[in-house]
């Protein structure tokens, strides 16, 4: 689906400057960021630790693996602490998410060639979904959205391609506004809108298919 920057003009929020991106490598970070300035560490703890569950949730959905998610979250908090002084966004949560997303991209880069292709097509370049997600000939408009249990929904979300998975998680699970999502993924709000529309359509079809099967 093509992106439509003109959507942004009809939204409630003015465009914000892009978030800071931390692209430090995976070098071992000596924990000296805290030693110089205990006040900073305390402020950071008070501001950032309440979002730990939300950051961990995003990591679980992005990496689809509990152990990798834990490592990524820990790395994210270290980078965040180091760059806490340079945070310029009004809210810390999208800022943490943006850092986590960079950490996850680095993690993907470490993985196998197959998964490297996965992340590059998923998180960076491609707007077009994997072939399995092509629109069916007939959209099941009359189908009912049945209730599914949390685990089944988690599975459906996890099976979405990365670019669509992340907008669904940021919007539906982490409850970010379009502007905040745009900050996290470093894309215009128009792109957020078109991706979210596509992502929800995919999820809807998968949902209807899952709901129709006897469990």
């Amino acid at each position: 689906m093509k992106t439509n920057p003109q959507y942004t003009t009809v939204l409630n929020f003015p465009q914000r400057p892009p978030p800071p991106t931390q692209t430090a490598g995976r070098e071992v970070i000596v924990d000296n960021a805290t030693n110089h300035d205990p006040g900073k560490a305390r402020c950071f703890r008070e501001a950032a630790l309440p979002h730990l569950d939300a950051v961990y949730t995003l990591a679980r959905y992005l990496l689809r693996n509990p152990a990798d998610a834990e490592d990524a979250v820990q790395e994210c908090y270290l980078r965040a602490l180091r760059h806490f002084d340079t945070m310029r966004t009004p809210a810390i949560k999208p800022w943490l998410f943006a850092i986590l997303r960079n950490v996850c991209k680095a993690e993907y880069a470490r993985r196998s060639v197959v998964e490297l292709r996965d992340i590059n097509t998923e998180l960076d370049r491609s707007e077009s979904p994997a072939p399995v997600w092509t629109e069916p000939q007939e959209t099941p408009e009359m189908a009912m959205i049945t209730k599914l249990d949390g685990e089944t929904i988690q599975g459906l979300v996890a099976s979405l391609p990365g670019v669509f998975r992340e907008v669904i998680v940021l919007r539906e699970i982490n409850d970010l506004s379009y502007r905040e999502i745009a900050e996290v993924i470093g894309a215009p709000v128009g792109t957020v809108m078109s991706r979210l529309a596509r992502a929800r359509s995919m999820l809807r079809e998968a949902w209807i298919a899952a709901g129709g099967q006897p469990k």
Partner: protein, 261 residues
């Protein structure tokens, strides 16, 4: 509106991210198009099902401990003024009212100065391109409800057309990282932005500043902070403030605080 457009916009409608005009367009399309209406229904069900399901993960306790250990500093001496400023930026996280009030007296002037800069920047931004209004109408009864659910306060919206200040509309903006209401007026060809945020200054009276040729008036009233910014001259801006204060003070539209659920 075409079906292709509606298929994208219906999500912004569901997420409460559309301005009033476009929301009406989408809803009008739904009335005439069964296919899109069915989609909207399904996506609303989906959205609701997801918001009630338990889809979050909890961070494992040992991860929390590891991060805490990494962040934990040596026993904290008296925080520096700088870190207190930082702390204020995350004011919502400060639980102690005492600490907050202490800090306010400490850093009041810094904060005012920063807010003043932000108000001027926001005013300049609003004059560029199409950022002036999110909801464009001269009807105060349209502007006021538009802010419902977007802010934790109900800003007073008054029409001062009779007094020479035409109500143009409203928008959301950000001052010091907090969402504020902006009511937009016109005086001849001049734009006047009235920023309204929660939290009242203890100061009485109206403060006047001139920055980069713009006049700014700041005052607190009924538990809200007000900044009026315009390039009209200081006397006219003073006139605006006095008329606004009079109408708000006596009118039926006094601010009512409501909690965002």
């Amino acid at each position: 509106m075409t079906c292709d457009e509606a298929e994208v916009f219906l999500h912004a409608l569901l997420d409460n991210e559309l301005d009033a005009g476009h929301a009406r367009d989408v809803e009008a399309h739904m009335v005439g198009c069964q296919r899109c209406a069915a989609q909207l229904r399904q996506h609303r069900d989906l959205h609701e099902a997801m918001s009630t399901a338990k889809l979050h993960f909890s961070a494992p306790a040992n991860l929390r401990m590891r991060i805490n250990a990494q962040v934990r500093a040596t026993p904290t001496p008296v925080p520096s003024r700088r870190t207190m400023l930082k702390g204020f930026a995350f004011g919502s996280l400060l639980s102690s009212a005492v600490a907050a009030s202490l800090m306010i007296t400490l850093i009041r002037s810094d904060e005012d100065q920063r807010n003043l800069g932000e108000v001027i920047s926001a005013h300049l931004r609003s004059l560029q391109g199409e950022h002036l209004t999110d909801v464009q109408t001269s009807d105060q009864h349209t502007v006021k409800p538009w802010f419902n659910g977007r802010l934790d306060v109900a800003p007073p919206v008054v029409d001062l057309t009779a007094q020479g200040f035409t109500l143009v509309g409203g928008r959301l903006d950000y001052i010091d990282g907090r969402a504020v209401a902006v009511i937009v007026y016109r005086r001849r060809i001049h734009v006047l932005n009235l920023f309204i945020g929660s939290g009242a200054s203890s100061e009485r009276g109206i403060r006047t500043e001139t920055v980069k040729g713009f006049n700014v008036k700041f005052w607190s009233q009924q538990g809200l902070n007000f900044w009026a910014v315009s390039d009209i001259n200081a006397e006219e801006l003073q006139e605006f403030v006095e008329k606004f204060q009079t109408v708000v003070g006596t009118g039926p539209n006094g601010p009512v605080r409501h909690n965002r659920s």
